[in-house]
Each structure stands twice: as C-alpha cells, then as structure tokens.
Amino acid sequence: MLMTHILLRHRDIPDINKLNVYKSNGGFEAFKKVVTKMKPGEVTDAVKASGLRGRGGAGFPTGVKWSFIDNKIWPHYVVANADESEPGTFKDREIMESNPFQFLEGVAIASYAVGANAAYVYLRGEFWQVAKFLDEKIAEMGEAGVLGENLFGTDYSLHIYTHLGAGAYICGEETAMLESIEGKRGTPRIRPPFPAVYGLYGKPTVVNNVETLTNLPMILANGADWYKNMGTPDSAGVKVFSLSGRVRKPGNYELPFGTTFRQLIYEHGGGVQEGRPVKAIMPAGASSSFIAADEKVLDTQMDYAAVRTLGADLGSASVIVIDDTVSMDWVINKTIHFFKHESCGKCTPCREGTYWMMHLIEDIRDGGHSTDNVDLLLNVAKQMQNKCLCPLGEFSTMAVVTGIERFAQDFTK
C-alpha cells in the first residue's frame, strides 16, 4: 500500500482543490518547468520513458500517442476525455471534483507537449456541476497566470474550455467525442484517419483520459524513473481502481499496477458482502468479459498483460465483483439493455444486434431458458463481433459471450 496518493492527493492534503493549497504543494511547478525549460519533444520523451499508458481503457502508451501527431498540419488540439460513461467507472469524477488543478495542469502539460494552444475538457451531460466547478478553477488559473497568453514570460499561450455532452455513452469513443464538440451528432468516424492526423475540426488532436492527464504533473515533477519504479514492467505507475458490486466497501482505490484482485477486494474493499465467495469479476465495467473467479484468478496481479491471460481486458479498471447470489443471465440482461440504449445507431450490427439480443435475453428470462434461444443469443453476439464500426458494438457482446460460455449453468434453468 502506498504511503501517499499520487492522483487522489486530496485524500492526503485537505483543500487541495483550492488554488493556494495546490500551489503551496508544488502545484504548477511542473507546468512552469516544461514551458520555460523543456522543448515539447523532451516532454513527450519523458512521458514515453515513464511507461505511462492510457487510462481510458485501451492502455496505449501515452507518449507514443503524442508522437503520432502530424506536425505538418496546424493548429493542434488536446481533448481531455471526461465522459466517464462506463458503468462501474467513477474515478475521473472524483479526480475532477477533488483534485481539479492537478488534472488541469496535466491538460496544460499535454497541450504544451503537442503544441496545442487550445484544449477542451469534454464532460458527459450529467457532469454539469463538475463542468461549472472546472470553469471556476480554469478562471482561477487564468487569474493566477498559469493559463492564458504568454505563459511564464514565454510566447506559449494556452486556453482550456469545458464542453458538455448530452449524456451519450458513445461520446466516450474519441471520434464521436470530436463530432460532439463540433456540434454534430455524437457518432464515431471511420478510422483511419486517426485523430492524431484528422481530429477536432479536422486538425491533429490528442485525446487523453482524465486520469492519464492527472499523472503528468507528478511524472514531470519527479521524473520518469520515479514513476516507472511503481507498478509492473508491463504497466508502470499507479491506477485508480473503481471497485463496485457485491463488496463491503465499494469505492475508488489508488494502487500500483500489480496489486492482485484478492488484495483489492479483500484488503481494500473489505471482502464480499455476507462473506460469500467471488463468483465472477468484470474488470472493466459493463463492457468487460466475465472472469470466472477461482483462487488463481484472485491472486493474479492486475496489469494489462496479466488480465489478458484470464481472457479479459483490464480496460478502465472498473472492477465489478459478482458473488454466488447473482445469476449471469440477470447480469447480461442489464448490460444488454444498457448497450441497446446507448447504441448510436450508425452501424447495422450494433443498432440491430443489441436490439435483437435484448429481445432474446428477455425471452430467455421470461420463458424458461430455452436452449434454442440461448444458442441463438450466443450466435447473434458472435455474429456482431468484428463487424462493427467502433468498439461499442463489440463491447456489448463481451459479457454475453463470456457469460454464456463460462457460466453455462446459469442459462440452463
């Protein structure tokens, strides 16, 4: 267990959401250092060396992502993905509400690294209070001279804007988010071209998750090696695990990568309610595959590579714990309804497939679990896989396929 937090620093330092408190704890020093003493490329190199990987779910190396940005086309933009719509994920909200300046300083460092003079924080519509709060903090930073024109006496200028979505899961997908900021329907674009070449308003854009960005001031302040020493060789640093489900103490836990499921659930989460056994784990929220829990699984270290060996992805590390009181047909009924509701409708397999799956799971649950319907549901889910325009359609099938395949008994009542 860490002595102090790196991301959830408000848990150690009261009132860090106040500018003077943040400043007196080293706030904006990293930003000032990069702007006055480092070249953008050096910042990117430092982040590459730290091993920081994207916390939005895909785990793509952040510094590498920045290096893809097209320097032949200008201007550049940075977009902070604060959509946080994955059921089971609630880490970014805590960061933004309680440690806002560190997040915003991260946005600023990323902007400097890729040469952006404007950055957008895209928040889901339900986060309107957070947006209002961030607007105040952004204004305070402007007054304090850490945002605006000619920062720290250099010719570098930066403005940060918040942008509220209308509450659509799909807008967490980066190209749909860009469409939404542009005032269009939030539907994904075809890729390539990737945002690093053709992003916001058709210009090169870096999209990073809130948590990813919040790491940056600490990495730049303490050095890549300091960061790299935490976590595992595959996944450097710390992660905020959003723990929920049938645990005694659900919540956000900032822990190094490599912490085992058992440590998270039992040491931090207080164990399963009523002392029941863990039946399954969804490590990445509603879009997860189910991991059938056993002793070996519980002792698996949580990093991107290790979780993949269990037939799932760590994703945004939104760990949902399911115990033996829960039947998987009930869970996938929930996830299917969610994805059916959130499908943007742009591509056929997702639009029609989620609707079809919804009918099938309802029939299965209402009508005595006929094998034909279960087989058909599995078949429909597999038929959707690898055919959709964006990951949403894919996500909607993960729980269905692994639920039926790994917990067949729950579908044969």
């Binding site: 659509a168 959130e342 943007c344 409708g345 056929t348 029609e352």
Partner: protein, 825 residues
C-alpha cells in the same frame, strides 16, 4: 496523371488509379461488392457494414521498402483479424481482396440478417419492390430465412411527410443516411438529419417548410429501400409495369437527361400515361440528378384543357374546324401578308419546329421573332461556350462568373455543377444585386445596384484581385441571366460579357465562353436558328399577320393584348387555349414534346434528342408538321413528315450544326460511375444513358471565324428615384407558368404573387412580411403579399416573373398599403 496501382480482387488483376476505393475498383473489374450506405457520388461512411470483405496487404520490409516474400516467392500478405469495409479502404499496390470468401460471405449474410430484423418486408405493397437494392441484395446475399421473430419487429409510422413532396416510411428505413448525405454534400441544402439514436434513429426534416430543397426527389432515387417515396409516384405503379422513354427536361436551359416511365392503365381510361420522371445519366449535363420542377411538373400534357381540334373564328367566335380548313385559312392569311408576317415563337419549341418556322418566315420575307425577355444568344454562338465544354471537368484553373442570375431558382442543376466545380478548386465570382444561395460558394461576391450590370462586368477586366481571378484564369465561363433586366438590359449585359471573355482570350476553347441562363429549354436553339427578339414588340405587331407558336403574349402582358388587337390576323399554335388563342383568328392544336420526337439545344449549346413517350393526343400534330402544312397553303414547301429529316436540312443550313444528324446525337460512350444496370444498389434507380449524350455546337471562335462583337448599347438607366420605386423582375423556380400551375404537387410551393421590399421600405410603408399591398405596375394593379429582402436597396422592389404580374423589364411601380399609406402617388 494519377499513379496507377495494381491489385487482385477475387483472383482477378485490376489496375486502377491510386486512391480509388476497393468497392469502385471491384466495379471496374466487373465484380459487385454489395453496398447500401456507399454511393459513388458521396463520401464513404462505412456504416451499413454490407461491403465487408477480406483485405490482405503485402508486408513491407522497413529497410528496403520492398515486400517480404514467402517460401513460394510470393509477397507475404497481412490480413486484419476483422473483415474490412470495401467502401472505406483505398486500393494499394499488391493488395489482395476476397469478396466471396467464406468469411466475407458470412459477414455480408449477417448484415442482411441484421437489417431485416427491423424491416417490415412489405415488398408486395412497396413502391420500391422490383427495383429495390435491399430486395435484390437479400436474394443474392441474405440467409434466406430469418431467425428473428416477426412478432418482435418494431412498428413505426409508415407515412411521415418530410415535406409535401417526399414521404418517409419509418419501418422501411435502414438508416444508411444516403438522403441526409445527399442533401448535405451534393445538394448543399442540409435539411435532413437523424433524430434519436440506436434502433430509434429516424430521418427527420430540419427545415420549415419541410424538406426545403429543390433537389428532394433525388433522395428517392438513391434510397436503397422503399423508405422515401415521392408523393407523386407513391402507390402509383409497380416498377415492372413501366415502360421507359429517353427524353430531355424542358423546364429550363440545363437540358437534364431524363426518362419518362409510362404505363397503360385503367385509371386513366386505358390510356398510356406518364407515371414518373427519372434522371438519366449524362455526366456532362446532370450527372444522375435532376431538380423537383423537372421531376414533378410534367402533368400539364395530360391536362383536360388540351386543345384537340383546330379552331377558326367565325362571326366573331372560335369554332371547331377541320385541319384542312384551318391550315388553309392560316396559309392564305400568310400568303396575303408576305413580308407582313411576324412569326412569334418561343424556346419551348424544338429545333425542328423553330427551323421550319424560320424557313417559312424567310421564304415569304416575313420576320421570325423570338418571344423572350432576354438577349445575347447570338453572342453565345460567337464566343461560345462551344465544343468540349463540360461542367464536370471544371475545377482548379477555371473561373466561373455568375452575373444577374439566381441559379438555384433559374437552373438548379447548373447551381449544383457550379458548386461542385468550386469544390474541385474552381474560382467563383457571383455578381448580383441581391443575395443568392450561390454566394456562399463564391470566392468573390460583387453586390452591384440594379442598372450597374455592364459596369460590373467591365470591371472584371481591370487589374485587381477580382479582375485577376477572371482575366488570368486558364479557363473562364460566364453565366449571365436577367435578374432585374429586360431585353435591352440583358442584351447589353451579354455584350459586355462577350467582350470581356474575348478580350481576355477566353473564347474558342473548351470550358470558356458564355452561357445564357434562359427562361426556356430551347432559347439558345432559337438564337442559333436565327430567331431574334424584338425590342419594341408592341410596335412590331401593328398591322401584321402574326403566327404565334408556343407563346402566350396576351396572357403575359395587357399591352400585348392591345397590340394583338391591332394586328391584321392572328394564328395561334399551342397545346392550350391560351389568352392569345382566345383572340386568334385561327387556332392550331400542337402536340406536347412528350408525344413526339425532336431536339433541344441546351444553354451550354448541347443538342440533345427527345423521344416520344406517350401516344399523341388525338387531333394534335407536331409543330414542325403543322408549320409545313400551313406553309404549303402559302405555296412554300417545307419538310413536314419526319423530324429527323427536318434536322438534316437544318444541319445543312446552319453552320454551327454542320455534320450533325440524329444518329450522331444518339451516340453514347461509357460513363463513370456505372449506374442504372442490374446493380441499382450502387448508383440508385437512375437510368443508364442508352439513347444519346448529345453533341455540342461549335462556336464561331471554335471554328476560328473572324467576327466583330457589337459595342455595348447604352441602356436607358432606370434608377430608383426619390419617393419612387423601381420594380425589377426576378425569376422563381416555382412560378405560375403553365407547367408548374398544372402540377398539383408543386402548386403548393408556388405561393402567392409577391413583392419583395427592403425592411426600411416596408417600415416606411407601414407593412410587414406577409401583409398585403396593392402593387401598381404598367397600368395594372394587383394585390400582392409583402416579402422582406434585406439585401436589396431601399428604392427597389422585386417582382416575380410569370406570377400574373406584367413585368418584362424594370419599371416604375407604386405600392399602397392596406392602411392607405402611400410611398408614391
């Protein structure tokens, strides 16, 4: 030239330009990859997931940049684990595509199955049935049997009017967004959008009035299901019952290639009638599009009011007569009149009709007068446009000038073509006294005052940003119109344009020259054949024998009624008993152009054939034949049996037509994209062109003839004077012309006769938009509705042509509000 790349599709080697999409490359190789959302005229979106294929790309050695070879010496290929969409992936060298592998077929099959889970399968009552991409592709690629329970299908509204012209069946829609993207990308009227999301996604109209675009009908052609249907054809017939005839749209000078679909039906008393009008591909003219006026304003030929018997005035009353008696009476009157004959004809007639009329007038030494408010067609014949001019080829290096014309209202498809040329890099200069829709695509917008047309064009040849954009352009085309102009004004404008083009060496080569935005389909043809307008038409008619063909001067202007009363003898030849016919001595019933063959010369001087679509109304004859019969009675022999023979004689006589004949006009060549075959899922229900792309006339400049352009004639400058209003004529697409008036659907969009004022003029008058005022013009007073236009000057009011108000040229006018506040006594 674009780099060529070679790839293999289903074992077939194909060499295509770099950057082409896999789906199009396959098409070139004769391999059909099924699509719904993809359309070759629009940007790919990859959303329907129908075109899933396996794509392998050679693995490249990073150090040498060459493909890595496998054991057999073949390039090693890398396939993604996912199927890829053929519509979003561009070709690359050495690419290998499998469109019919087990994996690809499974993908295509699954997409069809998914689509059908929410499709009503009401093919037996669907207008699209029989020419439906979803139906066809289901048969070809679908699983044959659905595993989705029919009872669980969503039930949605089946008759949602997006506007009064287009209906949406929400159940049939497969959310491919072709219609939305057409309106956005092609038409430039982004009036459709999606509402809701997921399975609830629905097409909605975002405009008021609904579906506010003159290109709306095209969305029904490219809709891959029966979701969008026209109010005109909806439940009108099954596609397989329809016969088709190639034709040319007669509504404006663009000359869109069209197809008339006809059927013999009980509900029309066993007659063969036109059921719908569809675009026919001509990439140089209308591509695969047409405007709604052309699509819906064809009903006039079926009107009950058609004349079917010749009439002769007896005892002051018109009464039925035989053809022999009528043509004899007409012929004798002309024989008597000789040089006192005035043939007054319009560009509604075909080249053959006009040629016979002109020959007739020449032989009796009479006069052939073109009935028009716009001049300059003779100058177009001199400086071009000429052979090889093609809107589709205009792009970077070409400057297009549009002066005194609102193309969206006057020649919608030219509006599309100009817009596209700009998108390909052409420079556009729009010079107009008021705002028009085309302004937004212009590099330069010149806003001049009514009356300053000539000066404005003259300035184009001067040094400066705008002048350079015109004068120094590799190619330059000027489209000139008659917004706010009468005959003398438009003639002066055309002269100034011709001189500007000639002075800057923009004549005598492809994509250079002048294009007249005429009121009628064949006005340019009339000019080529030698018809000329008469500045003082009232004076020219006095005491003459007048042979009015395809025109209704009496219906347009009270002054011309008086003029016709002062003539010796009037012969009217028309489809209808027009106001002119009512005061004629002999009336001859003509055939509609849909009932016969002939040719029109479009504004860009392309001669195109039209073919008979429906049997002629009993008792009517083609205009050229009637003229021949009348001429015979005046001892003048003209060809009167075959339109093609008349055309042969015309081609011998008129230099610019030299060497042309009907066979040449019917020639076709392969066009891209490939449309209109069995693969209608690809390009839509547009027709392939099998009956002729037409031939462009050469200009005098093309033929390197020496010619002198006339000097610009000074026009009496009508300016708004203090406390007086200047009324200027403008053209609206949907007017009270006979073709729109009898189209019940479009009728709803015509609206009332109006006058458009500057807001401050309206304020001064104490009226608001929508209120009524009394407009006095040329001695006539009419109640009209007030519209507001902020872009005109305060002393000017706009008055629409062909809306029942007599306005052929700018004129002084007065307005009186209902509250008796008067601006001018």
């Amino acid at each position: 030239m674009t780099k060529q790349v070679t790839l293999t599709i289903d074992g077939k080697q194909v060499t295509v330009p770099d950057g082409m999409l896999v789906v199009d490359a396959a098409k070139e190789a004769g391999i059909d990859i099924p699509v719904f959302c993809y359309h070759p005229k629009m940007e790919p979106v990859g959303m329907c997931r129908m075109c899933l294929v396996e794509i392998g790309r050679p693995v490249m050695d990073r150090t040498t940049g060459k493909p890595i070879l496998d054991d057999k010496g073949e390039p090693k290929l890398q396939f993604l684990p996912k199927l890829e969409t053929a519509c979003t992936n561009p070709v690359s060298e050495g690419m290998v595509v499998y469109t019919q592998s087990e994996k690809a077929e499974a993908g295509q099959k699954s997409t069809i199955e998914f689509l059908l889970t929410s499709h009503p399968l009401d093919c037996p009552i669907c207008d699209k049935g029989g020419e439906c991409p979803l139906q066809n592709l289901t048969m070809a690629y679908g699983p044959g049997k659905s595993r989705f329970l029919f009872d669980e299908k969503m039930h949605l509204a089946k008759m949602v009017p997006l506007g009064e012209l287009i209906y949406l069946d929400q159940e049939r829609c497969i959310q491919c967004a072709r219609c939305i993207r057409f309106q956005d990308e092609v038409a430039g009227d982004a009036v459709l959008g999606f509402d809701e999301r997921g399975r609830s996604t629905q097409i909605v109209s975002l405009s008021d009035p609904g579906f506010d675009s003159v290109f709306s009908g095209n969305t029904t052609d490219i809709c891959p299901v029966g979701a969008l249907t026209t109010a005109d054809f909806r439940f009108g017939a099954r596609p397989w019952e329809l016969s088709s005839s190639a034709s040319i749209c007669s509504q404006c000078p663009v000359g869109c290639n069209i197809t008339f679909n006809t059927r013999r039906e009980a509900m029309s008393d066993g007659k063969i009638v036109i059921k719908r009008v569809m675009p026919r591909q001509n990439e140089e003219v209308n591509e695969i599009w047409m405007c709604d006026k052309g699509r819906f304003a064809y009903h006039y030929a079926e009107s009950e009011k058609r004349l079917s018997k010749p009439l002769i005035r007896k005892d002051g009353k018109l009464s039925r007569a035989s053809w022999d008696a009528a043509t004899q009476a007409a012929g004798e009157a002309i024989a008597k009149a000789k040089k006192d004959l005035v043939v007054l004809a319009s560009g509604r007639l075909s080249n053959e009709d006009l040629f016979n009329l002109k020959s007739f007038a020449d032989q009796v030494e009479g006069k052939a007068v073109l009935y028009t408010h716009m001049g300059g067609g003779d100058l177009v014949s001199l400086v071009g446009v000429g052979q090889g001019t093609n809107f589709g080829a205009m792009g970077a290096g070409t400057t297009i000038v549009v002066v005194a014309s609102d193309l969206y209202e006057e020649a919608p498809v030219w509006y599309l073509r100009v817009k596209q040329a700009v998108q390909r890099g052409a420079a556009l200069i729009v010079a107009n006294p008021r705002e028009t829709k085309l302004d937004r695509y212009a590099s330069f917008v010149i806003r001049y005052s009514y009356g300053d047309e000539v000066r404005t064009v003259h300035d184009l040849t001067k040094k400066g940003k705008v002048g350079d954009a015109f004068a120094k352009a590799e190619n330059a085309v000027i489209l000139f119109g008659s917004d706010g102009l009468g005959l003398d004004g438009s003639t002066a404008l055309a002269t100034a344009c011709a001189r500007a083009l000639n002075d800057t060496e923009h004549a005598g080569k492809p994509n250079n020259g002048l294009i007249g935005v005429w009121q009628r389909a064949n006005d340019q043809g009339a000019w080529e054949i030698g018809f000329r307008p008469e500045e003082n038409l009232v004076g020219a008619l006095k005491g003459k024998t007048v042979y009015v063909v395809g025109a209704d001067p009496a219906g347009d202007d009270p002054a011309l009624v008086r003029a016709l009363h002062g003539t010796e003898f009037v012969i009217a030849q028309d489809l209808f008993e027009t106001e002119t016919a009512k005061l004629a001595d002999v009336v001859l019933p003509a055939q509609a152009y849909t009932e016969r063959e002939g040719t029109f010369t479009s504004g860009e001087r392309r001669v195109q054939r039209f073919y008979p679509a429906v049997p002629a109304l009993d008792g009517t004859r083609p205009d050229f034949a009637i003229t021949s019969q009348v001429a015979r009675q005046a001892s003048v022999i003209l060809e009167g049996t075959s339109a093609s023979v008349v055309f042969d004689i015309l081609a011998e006589d008129i230099k610019s037509f030299a060497g042309l004949n009907y066979a040449k006009l019917a020639e076709v060549k392969p066009q891209r994209p490939i449309v209109g075959r069995g693969d209608l899922y690809y390009g839509g229900t547009t027709y392939e062109n099998k009956f002729g792309l037409g031939v462009q006339l050469s200009s005098a400049a093309d033929r390197s003839e020496k010619f002198t352009l006339p000097r610009v004639q000074k026009v009496e400058e009508l300016r708004p004077k203090e406390k007086k209003l200047l009324a200027v004529p403008v053209t609206k697409l949907y007017d009270r012309g006979v073709t729109v008036e009898s189209a019940k659907l479009l009728n709803q969009r015509i609206g009332e006769a109006f006058v458009a004022l500057h807001p401050s003029a309206a304020e001064q008058l104490g009226v608001e938009a929508g209120e009524r005022v009394k407009l006095s013009l040329d001695g006539v007073s009419e109640d009209v509705v007030v519209k507001i236009d902020e872009t005109i000057s305060t002393g000017v009011v706009l008055v629409p042509r062909s809306m029942g108000l007599p306005i052929s040229a700018p004129a002084e006018a007065s307005l009186k509000a209902a509250k008796k506040v008067s601006v001018r006594a």
